[in-house]
């Protein structure tokens, strides 16, 4: 375990708070969910009033192949096929309960032993931060971790 200077800091942090198992798992899940995000910032045009060009809920006439045909707006399709990913998975479980299906196709856990990496520098880690369970590799990285992330994230 860590010795010397940083063990004082460790003790400090220890006395303050230690994340329980549930909070650690929550933190992990949040980190994984963040990796699915399309954007981390807000729509840069959110303050713009969108142009009235796109008709909503209304059908427009468009000529296609020499004939006139009703085409539906994008908004129509948004309403018509409105299902979230979670709803789709749930529906699939009812409709398609027997394997193989979306749920059963996901890869099983690996038999290869897990490796651990320093949460700061990314190199192989042999130590675990006591308050939060994050991994670190050296006194220096532990210091950075305690100063930046450790218990500072709200989990």
């Amino acid at each position: 375990m860590a010795t010397g200077r940083e063990s004082g800091r460790l003790k400090d942090a220890n006395q303050k708070r230690v994340l329980d198992e549930a909070a650690r798992r929550r933190r992990m899940r949040k980190a994984l969910e963040a990796l699915e995000l399309d954007n981390f910032h807000d729509d840069p045009h959110a303050d713009l009033v969108m142009s009235k060009k796109v008709p909503k809920f209304q059908e427009t006439l468009e000529s296609r192949g020499g004939r006139k045909k009703k085409t539906r707006s994008a908004e129509y399709y948004k309403q018509r096929f409105r299902k979230t990913f979670a709803q789709l998975v749930e529906e699939d479980q009812n409709y398609n309960p027997d394997p193989p299906n979306y749920i059963t196709a996901q890869a099983a856990p690996s038999k290869v032993p897990e490796r651990h990496f320093c949460a700061v520098c990314g190199f192989i880690s042999n130590y675990k931060c006591i308050p939060c369970g994050a991994r670190y590799c050296s006194v220096r990285c532990l210091g950075t971790h305690l100063d930046t992330r450790c218990l500072k994230w709200t989990a």
Partner: protein, 415 residues
């Protein structure tokens, strides 16, 4: 197989004789690969709408992004979530653009359409696909099919006499492993690893932002950093050791010169210490890339590195083959086919081959093929399938759809 649903052979030949070019849409979550079957290659169009900080007058649809000078802080609006089509208004806008005169003009009342869907696509998404193409785009005839089926078809055509193919598709949203035996997929053997290019880019953004420079808003640029600088390690622990070394002994570290969108539109990798001393280069923003170059793609090979409790690609390949009939297994090991953008990381093919080799029984041959273009390989398969005498028996015509509705499509299209 319920052959009453397949028209007769003569009917197929007749349809083929009267056939105009077929339009193929490999509708990926990252890019749509589109074009007529007679073209040499498809156009690859970003399947999204983007908004730039620098251009507040309009959003950019698909490849309109080429008109955007400064793509910093690009905001993405995507039709897909976790690899499945859920935002139909976005998709409709992108398709309308793709099928228009501005991009890849097509009249579906004349041109039959092949469109791809992911494995195990949800029934309501499948219905929506059928409905939008028959009712909105008034398709004359439609084939909905897994992109992997097209890739496998392409592989079988190029390798006459081959009976099996173990397909790996590592794209944007996820990675699939799918065994095909005599051209038919074995659904019980299909494995999905929830790691794809999107996650790798987001992870790279995260670690660079924590370690050196805030780039969380720069998905577009960081995706290019990933594509330009990352590679698959052949000896992970050894490369970790090299990356720990200093100066010239560290043969892994590189600088990445970030684009500034005035003098430089796209960034590039540069060896350490080779900066020219001009005043221009003093203003360059640089990222120092070290273990990031290979720990990022490594997640495809060991998702548990990120805390995802799933097998990596080589383990999943062997697992998938193990559930296949014994007599097919050696053929599958000898015909592993890599498709999807992530397979373009340098070292990807070699690593898969070496790891599968070490896991496979000694007496079997392990051969892993990386096509010249793993991104458009499925589209090319569609172009080739269109010439198959069976092709028109696989499609559903609008008249058939109007008479028999969704049920016919569920029976005919094996998604």
């Amino acid at each position: 197989m319920c052959y009453e649903y397949f028209g007769s052979y003569a009917e197929g030949l007749y349809k083929m004789a009267t056939n105009k070019a077929v339009f193929i849409l490999d509708n990926g979550a990252y890019t749509a690969k589109v074009g007529f079957s007679h073209s040499d290659h498809p156009r690859v169009i970003p399947n999204c709408i983007m908004k730039a900080k620098s251009e507040r007058r309009r959003p950019f649809v698909g490849d309109q992004l080429e008109d955007c000078r400064d793509v910093s802080g690009l905001f993405y609006i995507l039709p897909f979530q976790k690899g499945y089509l859920v935002n139909w208004d976005v998709q409709k806008n992108v398709w309308d653009y793709i099928f228009s005169k501005e991009c890849c003009p097509v009249n579906f009342t004349e041109a039959p359409l092949i469109v791809t869907e992911p494995y195990f696509n949800f029934p309501s998404v499948q219905e929506a696909m059928t409905e939008i193409f028959f009712e909105e785009y008034e398709c004359t005839s439609l084939l909905r099919i897994n992109a992997g089926d097209l890739s496998c078809y392409n592989y079988m055509k190029k390798n006459a006499g081959t009976l099996c193919c173990l397909l790996v598709d590592s794209g944007y949203s996820f990675t699939h492993i799918a065994p095909y035996i005599k051209g038919k997929k074995l659904k019980q053997g299909i494995i999905r690893i929830d790691v794809g290019g999107k996650m790798l880019t987001n992870h790279l953004k995260e670690i660079i932002s924590y370690r050196q420079l805030h780039v969380m808003d720069e998905t577009h640029v960081m995706n290019q950093v990933k594509e330009d600088a990352c590679f698959v390690s052949q000896n992970f622990l050894h490369d970790m050791e090299i990356a720990r070394k200093r100066d010239a002994e560290n043969t892994i570290a590189r600088d990445y010169v970030l684009p500034d969108f005035t003098t430089l539109r796209r960034g590039y990798v540069r060896s350490i210490g080779t900066a020219d001393k001009s005043s221009e280069s003093e203003q360059q923003q640089i990222l120092r890339l070290n273990n990031e170059r290979f720990t990022v793609p490594e997640i495809l090979f060991q998702p548990s590195d990120l805390g995802i409790s799933q097998m990596g690609i080589p383990e999943a390949i062997c697992h998938s083959i193990s559930v296949c009939p014994a007599e097919a297994q050696s053929h599958l090991f000898a015909n592993i086919l890599l498709t999807g953008g992530c397979t373009l990381f340098p070292g990807f093919r070699e690593r898969v081959e070496a790891e599968v080799r070490s896991r496979a029984p000694d007496h079997v041959d392990v051969r892993v093929t990386l096509p010249a273009n793993p991104v458009t390989y499925a589209w090319q398969g569609g172009a080739s399938l269109q010439q198959d005498p069976e092709f028109f028996n696989m499609t559903v015509s609008r008249e058939e759809y109007e008479e028999e509705g969704h049920n016919l499509c569920f029976e005919k299209f094996d998604i």
